[in-house]
Amino acid sequence: MENIEKGRWVQIEWTLLKPEERAEHLPPETRKVPLRMRAKGLLEEKSSLGETASIVTVNGRRLTGTLVAENPPYTHSFGAQIPEFIGLGTFLRSLWGEEE
């Protein structure tokens, strides 16, 4: 298991509510799964991924959970161009009448 040094910027995950503790009136597919939480902070003690670990957030709050990642990158993107839209501007302009 990968060891992560104390003081590193990490992400933890924990269960806030087990299925039986969840709010009433939830759709069954939501009710049957736990409410999971994720937060980032500075690791309090050297730990391995998958272990229970405590962090201190930017606001100085101490949170405990399972260590899931060291400084996970943002991976969301723009995706690809949409072929259906290629030429849309030319097409829309072609609809304009002379009087404008």
Partner: protein
């Protein structure tokens, strides 16, 4: 020691609210189901001029009103002779964090700082988190944002992942949650633990911050166009945008301007469903918020919601996801403006509605929002495809939320589909009774007047509705026995 279970914390909601908002909602409660709405709205005592001063101090507001000449030209090409109002766009993306939510956050942060709070917290998965973090920085406050981000498989909605990034870019502490309304439970715990200000989207402060939009629209239209617009089309979700914009218009003496709400149609997708969560290509501006918040505003995270859309919305229309993406693309290609997509909901409706108004008229679209990785329409379409949603070109009416996204094969197919407001009004009355456990005979004069105001209808509408609800429940009881 205080209990931390869901039930125990929720039971302390009013007490936590009182401390974290410095607002005692009980003061405004009537005996039955009514409450003093205007009294609550004026509780903090800021005039519109003061709100403008607060916002100008932090470069919020005074956003451009852009005439969309090429989009107007396109709408006119499709409109009957003599029809085709000019379309103007209130470019709220020009606010510091890229959306109109800066207006809401600016007043809350000003107030929190002036009362000596150390920080602000809110549960929001939208642009508001970034707005709050941005405004908090200016006012030297700390921020915690609780966001509903991922499903039980751990997969995040790209638009909300982007909101996390933006909040973190402003140095906020972001607590991400899986799908479920219990993020409010965690927020209450945070408020109790930190003693920080509850910067809810639904307080009178938040709505007061939006009123400046309506006021600016009236002012800009009078100055530059010599008259008021025929209508303002507002993207509708939780009701704040409609409420604030309409109240601002009224404060500017522009009561005659028609206020139209527009939402993306996400019928059939449940907002609290772990399964449906990543089948939505819109995380706001949709019917999943628009309808429930209109028919029961007090479902929000504060005891009494300051955003009460049925008081102000004179017409409500829906557009489809594929149509909004199409107009988002057209806005970039024809007007050189890359915005949205969720904020372009009202624009899509306005493109269709403009074709019904006279050429001499003009209509204003409220709002735009910034775009970026994750929340760009290309990102949403890529994500939809990954989740098995078919992306097609054809008749937008064949779109089924969660199954397919249909780009119109021709812009003439883009429609603003009318939602009958009366069933929503009736539903609000039913919910108001049900949530207080009251029946028709329990209601006082004040209650009847309150209900009439809450749905912007007269007393006779309420009396008729109450009778019909009684008859319906009698019938149901007979049927059940």
């Amino acid at each position: 020691m205080k209990g931390m279970s869901y039930a125990e914390v929720m039971a302390r909601k009013n007490e936590i609210m009182k401390k974290s908002l410095l607002l005692d909602y009980d003061r405004f409660e009537g005996k039955g189901l009514s409450f003093d709405y205007e009294g609550m709205m004026n509780q903090y005592g800021y005039s519109l001029d003061e709100i403008r001063r607060i916002q100008r101090e932090v470069s919020v507001g005074d956003t451009p009103l852009i005439e969309l000449r090429n989009l107007t030209r396109t709408a006119r090409a499709l409109a009957p002779k003599g029809k085709g109002a000019r379309i103007l766009l209130k470019d709220e993306a020009a606010n510091p964090s890229g959306s109109f939510k800066d207006r809401r956050a600016s007043v809350s942060c000003f107030f929190a700082a002036s009362k000596g709070f150390q920080g602000v917290a809110a549960a929001t998965s939208g642009n508001y988190g970034a707005a709050l973090a941005s405004q908090a920085n200016i006012r030297n406050l700390k921020t915690i944002i609780v966001q509903e981000v991922f499903d039980s498989l751990g997969q995040g909605q790209p638009e909300i992942v982007e909101k996390t990034r933006k909040c973190e870019a402003y140095g906020a502490e972001v607590i991400q949650t899986s799908v479920g309304p219990e993020l409010f439970y965690y927020l209450l715990r945070v408020l109790e633990e930190t003693g920080w200000f509850n910067a809810s989207l639904y307080t009178p402060l938040s709505i007061a911050g939006i009123e400046t939009i309506g006021y600016e629209i009236a002012e800009q239209c009078r100055e530059r166009h010599g008259t008021l617009p025929a209508a303002v089309v507002v993207t509708h979700a939780g009701g704040g945008n409609i409420t604030g914009t309409a109240r601002g218009l009224r404060k500017a003496g522009a009561e005659e301007v028609k206020v139209i709400g527009a939402s993306v149609n996400l019928e059939g997708l449940h907002m609290a469903s772990d399964r449906d969560f990543n089948l939505k290509s819109f995380t706001t501006g949709h019917t999943g918020f628009g309808v429930p918040f209109a028919t029961w505003p007090d479902r929000s995270d504060v005891p009494r919601n300051a955003a009460r859309s049925l008081r102000y919305m004179e017409q409500y229309v829906t557009v489809n996801q594929g149509e909004v993406f199409y107009i988002t693309e057209a806005l970039a290609l024809l007007e050189g403006l890359e915005r949205g997509p969720a904020g372009n909901t009202a624009l899509t409706a306005a493109f269709a509605l403009a074709q019904e108004y006279d050429r001499d008229d003009f209509i204003v679209v409220q709002e735009t929002e910034y775009t970026g990785a994750g929340k760009h329409h290309y990102a949403q379409l890529a994500f939809a495809r990954e989740n098995g949603i078919s992306v097609e070109t054809g008749d937008p009416d064949s779109e089924i939320p969660g199954k397919n996204i249909v780009f119109p094969s021709h812009p003439r197919q883009i429609r603003a589909r009318e939602v009958d407001l009366d069933p929503l009004r009736i539903s609000l009355v039913r919910n108001a009774l049900k949530n207080r456990g009251l029946s028709r005979t329990d209601l006082s004069e004040d209650d009847l007047k309150f209900l009439a105001d809450d749905v912007a209808r007269d007393r006779s509408f309420i009396e008729k509705t109450l009778k019909e609800l009684d008859q319906a429940s009698e019938k149901a009881q007979k049927g059940g026995s």
